[in-house]
Amino acid sequence: MKQQKARSNLDKTIKYIMVIIILAVFIFFAALFIMLLQRSQLILSRYPVWELLFSSEWDPNKGLYGFLPAVTGTFFVTVFSLMIAVPISILSAVYISEYMPSAVKSYFQAFIDVLAGVPSVVFGLCALLVLVPFTRDVMGPLFGVNTTGMCVFTAALVLAAMVFPVIISLTVESLSILPIGLREQFLSLGATKWQLIETVLFRAAGPGIISGIILGFGRAFGETMAVVMVIGNKNILIPSVFSPGQTLPGLIVGSFSEMMSVPEHQSALIFVSLILFIIVLFFNILANIIKNKLKSRWRYE
């Protein structure tokens, strides 16, 4: 009897510890948001938000804080990299899951796992050695542009490589849980494999694929180091994809050493991370909602 009491007491104690940890996570989440909001008050009280977001002059020494170049730079790099990554990774995911023999498949998935684990600085370092000369000597002349190679195009290529594993693994996962009967029924009607993929599988695996794309977007959007290393870090409105630019995370890392000295500059950079936080939050919640909505709508069981 006594022992039983001890056991159930232990059970309750652990439960309280768990609740405390969960609450700590919530407090952390709230503190993160409040901290960013509060620390960016300074810059927001001196300049209106729209002026910060839509002015293109960035010169902290003169008190000019325009985020437009970095915002457009981030947008361009992210969208451009997704334009490269989405078709390639969906097509290869379909190939991996539908055409590849299962013996090769597990090795290939191990490969993708390794690619997902490669740190972003390594991607950046590699891009400096391979992609920058490639853009300078091959792509530049091909499009008739003179470029140093440190440009938006290279950054987008690196980001695409970093987004591949995210989209591929989620797409393969959502294709592989579809029932085999679904495929057999459609193929027995005389359809080709691509028709099956196009008309049935893409729709049935849709929620997984879309949330994969959105998560890939999130990764590309918040990626810092690899982009900073190759984009050239010039805070101007980009005239073409072959010119150097700047992204929001790059802005923070690029001026982190000076950031301590001027409170206004510091506050401006914290405002940048607030923007990043809100956008990433939005896209993550969107991915979740889409996944749940579509899951209940497209059910093949």
């Binding site: 159930s8 232990l10 059970d11 652990i14 439960k15 510890i17 768990m18 940890i21 969960i22 996570v25 919530f26 503190a31 901290m35 960013l36 078709p87 390639i88 990774s89 097509l91 290869s92 190939y95 055409y99 191990a110 993708i112 796992d113 690619l115 684990g117 490669v118 740190p119 972003s120 600085v121 390594v122 950046g124 370092l125 590699c126 050695l129 490589a161 591949f164 359809a191 080709t192 691509w194 028709q195 990764r219 959007f221 918040g222 810092t224 180091m225 900073v228 290393m229 995370p249 890392v253 982190f256 301590m260 950079l269 914290i270 991370s273 990043l276 936080f277 990433v280 896209f283 919640i285």
Partner: protein
């Protein structure tokens, strides 16, 4: 268009895209290993020597401080994150709360996973500024623990989720408390749990953006919890931006070490999940 022609066109496109993905992987790993390997063969002492005072300005020295710094930061932070996320994952799985509520909690962890690492760095940096401290090993450990916790929670949760219900029910029917049941089910989920821990560790090992603000990123050997340290990714970032070719060469050596560590972690996670599969062999799922 004939459907068979379409089929073969798309098949070719798919094969091309698979090759593009493979090419990226081979280039990224190959370049680092070959180039870093060449640097290491020419001067193998780089790994074992501490940096001189002007190392990043082309001075003498090696990358030992970054290797030690990485290890000293990642291992304690993984331990902290593991303990916390194990409890959280059990809390999400075992019948402490209603299912509806735990699904909402999962969304929070998904969102935390998606937050760029630089924001974690800024957050801890802000705390450091408010409390008037400088970047240190301790702050780096806390940052990395926060960074990898959502990853580990997510993987552990998924692993626990795959345990057949029958095991939990039979534990309850023997009169086990919720905690004892939780430990029983956790044993079945060991492969997934270990894979999650190692993936989280890999993320912490390779992340530069969060640590560059909080660990001080100094150029000296780690001396204590409140002293500044450097880590491999931070060092690679600093070296790659250097004007001195000899320093830039060392970046490849550092990334060789880093990528080998990542591949080893990946392999261990695979071996572990194979090894611990014997616990799950009896499950009929």
């Amino acid at each position: 268009m004939n459907k068979y022609i379409k089929e073969s066109i798309f098949r070719v496109l798919m094969i091309i895209s698979v090759f593009i993905v493979i090419a990226f992987l081979v280039i990224i790993i190959g370049v680092n290993i070959v180039k870093g390997g060449i640097v290491l063969i020419n001067e193998p002492a780089v790994i074992f020597t501490a940096p001189g005072p002007k190392y990043l300005l082309g001075g003498e020295g090696g990358i030992l401080h970054a290797i030690l710094g990485s290890i000293l930061m990642v291992i304690p932070s993984t331990c902290i994150a593991c303990a916390a996320s194990y409890l959280i994952a059990l809390f999400l799985q075992v019948d402490y709360i209603k299912n509806r509520f735990s699904n909402k909690l999962r969304v929070v962890f998904d969102v935390l996973w998606g937050i760029p690492s630089i924001i974690y760095g800024i957050f801890i940096l802000n705390i450091l500024i408010v409390t008037n401290r400088r970047g240190s090993l301790g702050a780096g450990i806390i940052t990395l623990a926060l960074l990898q916790m959502p990853v580990i929670v997510r993987y552990m949760d998924e692993a626990l989720n795959s345990v057949p219900d029958g095991i939990r029910e039979s534990a309850y029917s023997l009169g086990a408390t919720r905690l004892e049941t939780a430990f029983t089910t956790a044993k079945y989920a060991l492969p997934g749990i270990i894979a999650g821990i190692l993936i989280g560790m890999g993320r912490a090992m390779g992340d530069a953006a969060s640590v560059i603000f909080t660990s001080g990123a100094g150029n000296s050997m780690p001396k204590g919890v409140s002293k500044s340290v450097s880590s491999l990714p931070v060092l690679i970032f600093q070296q790659a931006n250097s004007f001195y070719p000899s320093v830039r060469e060392h970046a490849y050596a550092a990334s060789f070490v880093l990528i080998i560590i990542i591949i080893i972690l990946n392999t261990i996670s695979r071996i572990c999940s194979k090894h611990f599969q014997k616990y799950t062999a009896g499950s009929d799922r």
